[in-house]
C-alpha cells in the first residue's frame, strides 16, 4: 500500500479483491435492521460520519448482533488540488467499527501528489442515536501514515505517521423542524496532523497534540434525503503556509440501505500557500 499509484480507478480495482475477502469472510450479511440513513455517510478519513467530520454513528445498518460492511469512493475537487479517497469498513453489533481509507492528493497546479493510508477504529460507549435521551457517544482513533515523507519533511513536519483520537456525540431529534428529524453532532479531536496528515505530523518546534472542535447539523428532508452543514477546526502549526478551518454544505441521498450518494460544496481555505480553495465533493457508498 506504500507505492503511490496515479490512477484512482486502478486504486479502486486494486482494493476490490480484499474487499471481496472482507465481505466474504463475514457470514450471513443480511440487510441490517437499523432504520435507513442512520448509518450516515463515510468521511474522507474512512470513519462513519458526514463528509469531513466523524459522527458517533456506526457505519452501515447492522443492529445488535449484526455485521455490516461498507465500501466508498470520494472525490473532492477544489481550485488547485484534487483529493481522491477509497475506503471500506466493517462493523459489528452497532458498536464496533473498523475502517480503512487510502487518500491521494493531487497537486494539480504545483505538480506531484501526496497520499496517506488511514486505519480507523470506533467504539460506541453509551446512548442510542434514535432512542435514548442520552446522545450516542463514541470513542475513535485514526492511525495515519503518509506515502512519501519528502515533501512533508521539507515543509517542516516532524513525523510521517500519527494517531488522531476523538470523542463524538450524535443525536437525532424526531419531529424537530417542520415535522422533520434533526441530527446534531459534536466531535472533539486530539491531533498532530498537518492538513489532516497529508503534510505529516507535528512540527520541528512541537510534538504536542492540539484539540480541535468539529460539528455537524443535518435535517432529514425526506426519509432518504438529508441536507446538512459541517465545520471542522484545524490546527495551524506549520510555519511555511497557513492552514484554515474547513466547512461544507452537503446533500445526502440514501437511495436504499445499500447505496447512498453525497454531494457537497466545500470551503477548505488556504492549502500549502494556495488561498481560498473551494469546490465540489462527491461520494458514493455501498453498504451490506
Amino acid at each position: 500500500m506504500n507505492i503511490a499509484i496515479n490512477s484512482f480507478v486502478l486504486n479502486y480495482v486494486k482494493a476490490l479483491p480484499w474487499l471481496c475477502l472482507l465481505l466474504g469472510s463475514t457470514t450471513a450479511l443480511a440487510e441490517g435492521s437499523r432504520v435507513v440513513a442512520t448509518g450516515g455517510a463515510t468521511t474522507i478519513e474512512g470513519s462513519a460520519g458526514g463528509g469531513i467530520v466523524p459522527w458517533a454513528v456506526i457505519n452501515g445498518y447492522g443492529s445488535s448482533g449484526e455485521w455490516s460492511a461498507t465500501a466508498m469512493a470520494t472525490g473532492v475537487y477544489v481550485d488547485d488540488f484534487t483529493l481522491k479517497v477509497i475506503g471500506a469498513s466493517l462493523s459489528f453489533d452497532n458498536r464496533f467499527e473498523l475502517s480503512v481509507a487510502r487518500q491521494t492528493f493531487d497537486l494539480d497546479t504545483m505538480g506531484g501528489e501526496l497520499g496517506q493510508d488511514i486505519v480507523g477504529v470506533k467504539y460506541k460507549v453509551v446512548g442510542e442515536l434514535l432512542y435514548t435521551a442520552m446522545p450516542q457517544i463514541t470513542l475513535g482513533a485514526q492511525y495515519k501514515k503518509v506515502d512519501d515523507f519528502t515533501l512533508p519533511q521539507a515543509v517542516g513536519a516532524r513525523d510521517d505517521s500519527g494517531i488522531d483520537w476523538y470523542v463524538a456525540a450524535s443525536k437525532i431529534f424526531f419531529d424537530a423542524l417542520a415535522g422533520r428529524n434533526l441530527l446534531l453532532n459534536g466531535t472533539v479531536r486530539a491531533t498532530k496532523a498537518n492538513q489532516t496528515g497529508l503534510l505529516g505530523f507535528g512540527t520541528q518546534a512541537s510534538n504536542d497534540y492540539r484539540f480541535v472542535l468539529e460539528a455537524s447539523a443535518a435535517v432529514l428532508l425526506t426519509d432518504n434525503l438529508a441536507l446538512g452543514i459541517e465545520y471542522r477546526q484545524k490546527p495551524n502549526e506549520l510555519g511555511f503556509a497557513r492552514e484554515d478551518d474547513w466547512q461544507d454544505v452537503f446533500l445526502a441521498w440514501f437511495i436504499n440501505k445499500h447505496l447512498s450518494v453525497v454531494t457537497a460544496y466545500s470551503k477548505l481555505g488556504s492549502i500549502a500557500g494556495f488561498d481560498d480553495q473551494q469546490g465540489w465533493y462527491v461520494s458514493i457508498e455501498g453498504s451490506l
Binding site: 443492529s63 449484526e66 435514548t132 424526531f174 419531529d175 417542520a178
Partner: protein
Amino acid sequence: MSRLWITMMALTFVLLSSGCADKSVQPAPLQADTTSLYQALGNDVGVSAIIDGLLKRISTDTRIVHHFDATDIALFRERLIEHICWVAGGDCEYHGESMEKTHQGLNITQADFDALVGHLIASMKEQHIPLATRNALLKRLAPMYSDITYH
C-alpha cells in the same frame, strides 16, 4: 428519561381532561396538537390499518416472529391499537400493562426493536401517512426503547 415520558403523558391527560370539561373554550395549541396526531393517523380506522400492516410484517419476519409464539394475537392487536391511540392523544383508555412489565423477560434486543420500528414505518407509508405525522408518532414511541429492550 422515563420521568420525562410520564410527565409528557400527565400533561397530555391534564390537557385532554380540561378540554373535555369545557368544550366551548378554544383548544390550547398543545391540545390541538395532541388530538390532531390521532386524527392525522386516521383515527380508529387509520390506526387499525397501521397495526394490521405491522402485524402482517411481523408475522413474516423470521428475525422477530418467534417472540410472539405464545402471544394471543387478537388480544395483542386490540392492546396495540389502544396503546397507539393513547400515545397519539386519542380519546382511548389503554387496558394493558406498562411497557416495562409487558416486555419483561422477553429479552428484546436492539435489532428486534429496530426491525419493529422499520415495519411500523413501512406500514405507515403504506397507509400514506405523511412524513411529519410519522415522525411525530416515532418521537413518542422512541423513548420507550429503554423500557422494552434488554430485560
